[in-house]
Point group: C2
Chain length 308, copies 2
């Protein structure tokens, strides 16, 4: 009998990524199923269980061959209570008892975390953050997500709101209104939407962030100012996170980070400007490496460390 494997599920608003991994974090096999959001998402747990058993049987295995399952879900998690809140994309009520329901359904220990936190754990374990247990991840997508890993474990906070990097206030006065109700959040200026907002504030129009980067590369001064301003705000947030938790690596991922050096070079300068010199001595900025696999790899890590 070979070593036991880990199961990992990354629940998103449109699909659920599922995988089996070795206890070293190598993906043995991965697949995905659609997220059935009907009836406030009540079918999701059974859908996961059914697919899990089917794929396990296909490998000639049973639950005895699985150590535990880790799950990432899109909302603040309470790992001790085993609940997820604010998963509005899925329709679950606040305090949804995901851990308990899934443990009943797959008859294995289940450990849950917020999906952005799982991605941070994944990059820490097997991605751009490997080699250190002190990593901060920032994901620049439609919004800005994040996770703070200290000594190999996620900082979850009192009610699962730690690592809300997208809601760090970087424009304390006259900032754009954020979906969260605050103003001047990082997400309002450093997400794909935020970059379009900044370009609009220059009196110009672009359909998406990618276009703003293209305009900047072609010499458009307003677009160049927007990219610089985005890097400035992101550097301010990252510098202040570094002054608070003193990580070895900040891993930047998500669609906006695909802009590459156009964003990352000015970002490094701003991070240096805003970080306490001693904290800067040990800090590097890295591009995320795991892409969409970060979530399942981090969920598997969670299952591993919580089980041993």
């Amino acid at each position: 009998m070979s070593e036991k494997r880990l199961a990992a599920f990354d629940i998103g608003g449109t699909s659920i990524k599922m995988a089996f991994l070795t206890t070293e974090g190598d993906i043995i096999r991965k697949w995905s199923i659609p997220t059935d959001r009907s009836e406030a998402g009540v079918k999701i747990v059974q859908d996961i269980a059914r697919s899990f058993y089917k794929e396990l049987e296909a490998d000639g295995l049973t639950t005895v061959d699985v150590l535990a399952a880790g799950v990432g879900a899109p909302g603040p998690a309470d790992p001790e209570q085993g609940t997820i809140s604010g998963a509005v994309n899925i329709g679950w009520p606040n305090g949804y008892p995901l851990k308990k329901l899934l443990e009943e359904a797959i008859e294995l220990p289940v450990f849950i975390e917020n999906d952005a936190n799982c991605a941070a754990l994944g990059e820490m374990w097997r991605g751009a953050g490997s080699g250190t247990g002190d990593v901060v991840c920032v994901t620049l997508g439609t919004g800005v997500g994040g996770g703070v890993v200290s000594r190999g474990m996620i900082i979850t906070g009192v009610n699962g709101s730690a690592g809300e990097i997208g809601h760090i206030t970087v424009v304390p006065e006259n900032g754009f209104l954020c979906n969260c109700g605050k103003k001047g959040c990082l997400e309002t200026v450093a997400s794909a939407t935020g970059i379009v907002n900044l370009y609009k504030a220059e009196g110009k129009e672009a359909p998406d962030a990618r276009t703003v980067f293209e305009f900047a590369a072609a010499g458009d001064e307003a677009a160049k100012r927007v990219i610089d301003r985005c890097a400035f705000y992101l550097g301010l947030a990252i510098g202040n996170i570094a002054n608070t938790v003193n990580p070895a690596k900040v891993v930047v991922g998500g669609g906006v980070s695909e802009a590459g050096e156009a964003l990352l070079l000015p970002l490094e300068q701003y991070v240096k400007q805003f970080t306490f010199p001693r904290a800067m001595d040990v800090l590097s900025i890295e591009k995320a490496q795991l892409g969409n696999d970060a979530g399942v790899i981090g969920a598997a890590y969670l299952a591993k460390v919580m089980t041993v």
Copy 2:
């Protein structure tokens, strides 16, 4: 034979606070000795050891009656290496092997941390932060110090620079120059010195922060703006720390916090303005309770949790 006691030393630039505590954190006895900074502070460890043995004997006890010692020191600590760096007030070279030297001198396990981090642990254990393991402390004195406690333990960071709350950038453009070399650090606007700086920027003069608070209470508009601005910057920093680590309590101490409601009432409003709503749901701002004892109580806590 009664239960073993803890020893705690809080090393400052002018005096070393020493204490014996129960394992519940009650101070059995406390005293202090002067800090001998001559010859780059080489005599300090022996001074501590001599005083420790003398007071222990006075109680009719020996080292067998002591579980361990915790030490706070004024510089970034590397708890794993057992070294202190940047203790310029004392004269020690970077990477001073405080743990090893003190363990040899008192023949007990010794655990070290930065002094501001010890104070945070103290307030978490027995002060304004008690009842939760997720506490951030901010000490507003000549400078601004801090400590971040998550799940009952200090976040030290990769090289002991976590919790450098005084060096969070709150004025990203055109800020005052800080001693650390950066500009716009919280310390430049929310310490006693910072408040005087802000008043000077209003074109007015005051000998100290206390006077600025007195002027504000007497109706001086410039002084009132300064206090509001100080609360604004402090609220911005605290809000962004809350967005990062999601604590239950932020404990504000130090001389400037003695201003009381004049500072704390506007501060609460600004913290609310800058904190992610879900993180704000569980957050309260508290005034520090332990005063100068916070350091030894936190050092004792460190000794306790590292020993068991």
